[in-house]
């Protein structure tokens, strides 16, 4: 076994748990499809979040018990969900008024690439035969107050996802505030990537070696 395979970092569940700690009580939150959805499972006791799904529901609850769902009560991933007490249904123009108007506190998205100035690419590889499909991602990153990315630090092929500048088509420019990966928590600042926290057992040099742009160390205080 190479040294590489022994370095594991946070699991997907741990990444979600780490991110969940940073969400304030009472926040209005939109969780993207995939790893972002896991965040809801790890919200610390005593905090209540209100989940927005852009297809028209505030106060989204967990999946229904098998057989008790309604095929017309779904989330943005088109999976059946429930509505919590205090929920509200609304149409798409109102739903994206919430997004574009800056009313959602936090959105958590997956990423293909994030650049050091906060550009996000997460909707298209730009491959000529791909079917382009964007959904609400461009509206979310343009409108939501804080946008966090949760993603593996590198692609399946080991290529950095945190880069100098994105090579895939952009979802938005200068829109990402913070990145949670299996290796670290990293802020996007005016000066570029800024380390916030390392995954246990991961050292800075290792994270830097897996990143396509400079990461600023936590300053000594």
């Amino acid at each position: 076994m190479s040294e590489q395979t022994q370095i594991s970092g946070w699991t997907r569940e741990e990444m979600a748990k780490r991110l969940a700690q940073d969400i304030h009580n009472g926040s209005y939150v939109n969780l993207g499809i995939g790893i972002p959805e896991l965040v809801a499972k790890y919200v610390p006791e005593g905090r209540t979040l209100i989940y927005h799904t852009e297809n028209g529901l505030l106060g989204m609850g967990p999946s229904p018990e098998t057989g008790s769902g309604d095929p017309e009560l779904i989330n943005a991933g088109k999976r059946q969900v429930t509505a919590n007490p205090g929920a509200a249904f609304f149409h798409h123009a109102d739903s994206f008024a919430m997004i574009r108007g800056g009313h959602i506190d936090l959105c958590v998205l997956g990423a293909m690439q994030v650049s050091k100035n906060g550009d996000l690419a997460n909707w298209s590889t730009g491959a000529p035969d791909a079917i382009p499909a964007v959904g609400g991602a461009m509206d979310l990153v343009a409108g939501v107050k804080s946008v966090y990315v949760i993603t593996q630090h590198c692609t399946k092929h080991g290529e950095p996802k945190l880069v100098e500048s994105c090579t895939f088509p952009l979802t938005g420019c200068k829109v990402i505030d913070r990145i949670y990966t299996d290796l670290a928590v990293i802020d996007v600042t005016d000066k570029g990537f800024q380390l916030v926290e390392l995954s246990p057992g991961i050292d800075f040099d290792y994270v830097q070696s897996k990143t396509g742009a400079e990461i600023l160390q936590i300053p000594n205080t």
Binding site: N25, G26, Y28, G46, T48, I50, H52, L57, L58, G59, A83, N84, P85, G86, A87, A88, F89, F90, D94, F96, A97, M98, I99, R100, G101, G102, H103, I104, A142, G143
Partner: protein
């Protein structure tokens, strides 16, 4: 635990600051949050810009706020009533500035402000004095003017029932400017006849979702502006 319920109108308007822009719901007396306005008079904030369809009746509610000298500018579509000279006197003496906006443009500017739309084109007012100084352009051979989204620091809104998450339903034509104003203000404050627990308002019938509302206060028996005016009341 989320609880937007505050104990009094005074508490609800505690942090309105001098120079703030305040949207006030209502069309005539329908939907006018008169208890919140009176609390704002008591609170003392001044040099306010008020966004509202009208300028109030008699010497209560919005007219009383104006009369108290707290309003330096109104953004409004119809600042005349049969039974109030408060705004006309302030306007003629130059004490209160007026930005006159067609009613539909006012409503849409407020919605746009709340929906993150900084500008939009409308056919209303093209070729009239209210288009003076505004950009215009053609779409499909028709002329339109550019109007800008409107935001506020605070909104004072009258609802019927609200829950502690801030979901609101309204009474009949009192709905008017409440929903768009709740969207457009940084801090939206709703007075309602009843404040209930989450789940007591059917999610299908919510008019203003709680995300747009910051504080709700129960005013179980709101006064009617027309009754106060008929009685000759002058607030405070």
């Amino acid at each position: 635990m989320i609880n937007k319920h505050v104990s009094s109108a005074a508490e609800a308007v505690r942090d309105v600051f001098d120079g703030a822009t305040v949207m006030v719901s209502g069309f005539g007396e329908a939907g006018s949050p008169i208890e919140l306005i009176h609390a704002l008079i008591d609170q003392g904030a001044t040099d306010l810009t008020v966004v509202s369809n009208n300028t109030g009746s008699g010497e209560v509610g919005l007219a009383a706020l104006l009369k108290a000298g707290r309003v330096s500018k109104v953004i409004c579509s119809f600042p005349r009533t049969a039974n109030s000279t408060v705004f006309p006197d302030l306007y003629r003496s130059g004490k209160t500035e007026l930005e006159l906006v067609p009613q539909g443009t006012l409503a849409e500017r407020i919605r746009a402000g709340g929906a993150g739309i900084p500008g939009f084109y409308t056919p209303a007012a093209v070729g009239t004095p209210l288009a003076d100084g505004k950009e215009s352009r053609q779409f499909d051979g028709q002329e339109y003017i550019l109007e800008h989204g409107l935001k506020a620091d605070f909104a004072l809104i009258k609802g019927q029932v609200a829950d502690t998450h801030g979901n609101v339903i309204y009474n009949k034509t009192a709905r008017n400017f409440g929903p768009p104003m709740a969207m457009a203000a940084n801090v939206s404050i709703v007075q309602a006849i009843q404040v209930v627990e989450p789940g007591e308002i059917d999610p299908e019938v919510v008019v203003t979702p709680g995300i747009f509302v910051d504080r709700v206060v129960e005013i179980a028996n709101p006064v009617h502006e027309s009754v106060l005016v008929a009685e000759g009341v002058s607030y405070p």
